[in-house]
């Protein structure tokens, strides 16, 4: 019994140590938040007219390495703060969980002054936590008004009030998801014309599967790939006029595209792809890195991604497959018979910045974003700090030190986080080179030619309290589960009708009613 007693006392000691450590941690945390709050209070108290304004900004790291620790210790942020006469407190959330972490932050009462999102945040808007920016932008944002097109502003306006500053879509592309195809594979298997219909696309994918386009003698090609949770297959759905994130009018009702006959058709097509082994058998479990790995392994012929990354993919494949002659090209969406608009949903903006009611000085915040789209600001966004990562001679010619910008790990996060101006080919050419700009413009040209109009542009979020129903016109788990089951053959295609019935009876009908009412009052043109 002795040994067991000894063991018990050890266990007790461990619990106590744990409890003590927990208490200790708590105390230091409290101390920290208190001490970091006091300088803010001081800054407010001084009230000198030109004292820098403290702004807290919540954004995501976009899966890039971002500066850690105190934001103002980072040279890039420090430079930006000096230029805009602010003190910046930037929090980068890991992109993959950003949506969840944001909600946790709100729940714990940590609302930032400025929040980065993709559109007007539904929760904050519904709870009246955002400041309308019209007056501030009219007075303090002349450059914002000049650089950002009206279409982008329309997307963030609710009842005539602007609730966010949008980043305009790059290159005026109407869509931010499109088909990426391996042109060299097409050449190799003898597909000379871009497929115009789903049937022609089938022919192309079958050729990818059977004719060994990667030339390794093995039948390891994945003609089309996608990612977990039924994502990045958007333009396949788009060929039939369906869109996971869109709504459509049927018999006078606004219904989410996820419950439309078009979606049923699209799922039927995907099921055929899956059955014929044309669609990645792991499309429901691929994480981003596995998916990227498969493409870089010369295994994938067709995939869906962001046109902004057109050059990025070409560059990646050049490096991963040297001497292989890989050519990445955009492919305009084929259309099923009778489909008017194919492609992904049209969106004139990418990320957005909203100002919350926590902000003490919205004027300074709008001025801050206005500076980012001035010529000087755009140069900062594209090239970094003058005389550190780029130099500008008296004639205005810019010499960009890309190597240093990359080595300092500043190039990626800075551009993604702060870019608002959309597309500035002149600066971009200096930044990434003529070849890259030409490739990107190829993608944007295709992007201008497709896309499904958003009939709910400017509508508030219609949301159910049940996660399986979720937000209106956003794929909830009920839809994803149904789609996965149909495509993978666990349920017949007609199971879709049963799902629609279930979805409507469990709360979908209510959302449809709200959306239809809004549409009849505001959206109809």
């Amino acid at each position: 019994m002795n040994a067991s007693k000894k063991w018990v006392s050890v266990a007790l000691a461990v619990t106590m140590a744990g409890a003590l450590a927990a208490c200790g941690n708590n105390n230091t945390n409290n101390a920290k938040t208190e001490s970091s709050a006091s300088p803010a209070a001081n800054a407010d108290a001084t009230e000198a007219p030109k004292a820098p304004v403290k702004i807290s900004l919540l954004t995501t790291d976009n899966s890039q390495p971002v500066p850690g620790g105190n934001a103002m210790d980072d040279p890039t942020i420090k430079y930006l703060a000096e230029k805009t006469n602010t003190i910046l407190d930037i929090t980068f959330l890991p992109a993959a969980q950003a949506d969840n972490l944001k909600k946790v932050k709100f729940a714990s009462g940590e609302l930032p002054d400025v929040i980065s999102d993709y559109g007007v945040n539904g929760d904050l808007y519904a709870n009246n936590q955002l400041i309308p920016l019209n007056d501030y932008i009219d007075k303090y944002g002349p450059n914002l008004k000049k650089v950002i097109p009206q279409a982008a502003w329309d997307g963030v306006t609710r009842d005539g009030k602007i609730y966010a500053i949008p980043e305009s879509a790059a290159g005026d592309s109407k869509v931010n998801r499109m088909f990426f195809v391996r042109k060299d594979w097409m050449d190799k298997v003898g597909i000379t014309e871009t497929p115009k219909t789903p049937d022609e696309l089938l022919t192309m994918l079958r050729a990818f599967r059977d004719k060994d386009p990667n030339g390794n003698g093995k039948k390891d090609e994945i003609p089309l790939s996608g990612r977990e949770n039924f994502t990045w297959l958007d333009t396949i759905l788009g060929m039939f006029g369906a869109n996971e994130y869109g709504a459509t009018v049927i018999n006078g009702e606004v219904v989410p595209s996820n419950t439309s006959p078009q979606m049923k058709q699209a799922l039927t097509f995907l099921k055929q792809l899956y059955d014929e082994k044309l669609l990645d058998s792991e499309f429901m479990s691929n994480k981003r890195n596995t998916w990227e790995q498969k493409i870089q392994n010369d295994q994938v012929g067709l995939w869906v991604h962001d046109p902004n990354l057109g050059w990025d993919w070409q560059d990646k494949l050049n490096k991963a497959l040297p001497g292989k002659g890989a050519i990445v090209e955009p492919m305009i969406s084929p259309k099923a018979p009778g489909v008017q608009y194919a492609g992904f949903g049209i969106s004139a903006y990418n990320k957005t910045f909203s100002v919350t009611k926590k902000a003490k000085d919205p004027e300074a915040i709008v001025k801050f974003f206005d500076w980012l789209v001035t010529e000087e600001g755009q140069e900062f966004v594209t090239f970094g700090i003058p005389d550190v990562t780029y130099t500008k001679d008296s004639a205005g010619k810019i010499t960009y030190n890309q190597q240093k910008d990359t080595d300092d790990k500043t190039a990626l996060w800075r551009t993604i986080t702060f870019n608002l101006a959309g597309w500035n080919p002149d600066l971009k050419k200096v930044q990434v080179g003529d070849e890259a700009v030409a490739k990107l413009e190829e993608f944007f040209t295709v992007g201008k030619q497709e896309g499904q109009p958003n009939i709910l542009l400017g509508a508030p979020t219609f949301k159910s309290s049940l996660p399986e129903i979720g937000e209106f016109a956003v794929p909830g788990t009920m839809f994803i589960e149904t789609a996965a089951k149909i495509v993978m053959g666990d349920q017949p295609v007609d199971y879709f009708d049963e799902y629609v019935k279930n979805w409507r009876s469990r709360g979908g009908d209510d959302l449809i009613k709200q959306a239809t009412e809004w549409y009849n009052a505001n959206g109809k043109k």
Binding site: A3, N229, E282, E468, G470
Partner: protein
């Protein structure tokens, strides 16, 4: 698991204390406390821990009866009574959640619970100490891996395109089977992964119980001519039975907690049907959908069921085996 070990440990400690109290029955409570003041001082941090981290948060459960809005806060949110609990009855989703939770829990009790006991008994019979230590260390290692890594390993083993297992199946002329995305295999995969990860670590408490068995009992058994199997049947097994009973009772109290991370990391829309449990649903409901009241209601519902089961199982155990938690 860690908590269970510690809780079990504190349960074992209480016994000698209560025995002593009975012996010194003539002392009043205060005199008794004074006499054993060192022990009570040592208990203070434990009290503080339980009050701050277990009892004060209980007050937050009140939002299960409110329509909690994070911007209006704790007090101002609207009182809705039992609305969320009623929803649990009316929403067909809950039937499958409860079924899945209970089934996975049952799998765990039937397969995961005995695994470390068997392993501990086997280890106990190993004569070469060097070998025993080595085996123990290797078996402990998976405990320190995060579930994300365990999923990564499972993916490498079971993937259809690049997995070791499917490579072997195909090499032997079979057809690849998608273990990770088949509803029929989901529960087995999750529970097996759990056994692999925690089995070694969970042996600790049983090994401690085994080392607590009086060696003279084995000597006596040997003299009576008992072989190894007879010794196990008559000395080893009865020796660790109290520990087994206590842990089983605790496990039954936690029957609705099957391990959120373990299930969540393996879950995909194709396996929701068999793998979505109360915890993963509550996570999606609360964190992703901002429905904090509903989530709290689910938590409260789970606790009540766990409490009822624990009290019930404890009663049954007390009357049948004489072993009980309190």
């Amino acid at each position: 698991m860690n908590n269970e070990i510690l809780e079990a440990a504190s349960v074992q400690v209480k016994k000698p204390l209560s025995n002593r109290k009975r012996k010194t029955g003539e002392l009043s409570f205060f005199q008794f406390v004074k006499k054993n003041n060192a022990l009570y001082i040592m208990l203070i941090p434990v009290f503080i821990y339980f009050i701050t981290f277990k009892y004060i948060p209980l007050l937050g459960s009140v939002i299960a009866f409110k329509d909690y809005n994070i911007f209006e806060g704790f007090l101002k949110s609207k009182w809705v009574g039992f609305q969320w609990f009623k929803l649990m009855y009316t929403n067909p989703e809950y039937a499958r959640l409860i079924k899945n939770t209970l089934l996975i829990s049952l799998y765990q009790i039937v397969f995961s619970f005995p695994a470390p006991i068997i392993l501990a008994c086997l280890l106990n019979e190993v004569r070469n100490m060097g070998f025993k230590r080595w085996v123990q260390t290797v078996l402990y290692l998976p405990h320190f891996l995060s579930w994300t890594l365990v999923y990564g390993l499972a993916y490498m083993m079971l993937s259809v395109q690049s997995g070791l297992v499917n490579g072997m199946i195909e090499g032997l002329g079979g057809h690849a089977f998608d273990f990770l995305q088949s509803p029929s295999a989901f529960r087995s995969v999750v529970v097996s992964a759990g056994i692999w990860k925690e089995m070694g670590w969970s042996t600790i408490i049983f090994l401690a119980a085994l080392s607590g068995i009086n060696p003279s009992l084995y000597e006596a058994a040997k003299i009576d001519g008992a072989g190894r199997w007879k010794q196990f049947q008559n000395v080893t097994f009865p020796g660790i039975l109290p520990a087994i009973t206590i842990l089983l009772l605790l496990k039954i109290g936690n029957v609705m907690d099957v391990g959120f991370e373990q299930v969540y990391i393996f879950l995909s829309p194709i396996t929701y049907e068999v793998g979505e449990i109360l915890d993963t649903y509550a996570y999606r409901l609360g964190i992703m959908n901002g429905q904090f009241s509903m989530t709290t209601a689910i938590g409260l519902f789970k606790s009540v069921i766990g409490f009822v089961l624990l009290v019930g199982a404890n009663k049954i155990s007390k009357s049948t085996t004489g072993e009980s938690l309190y």
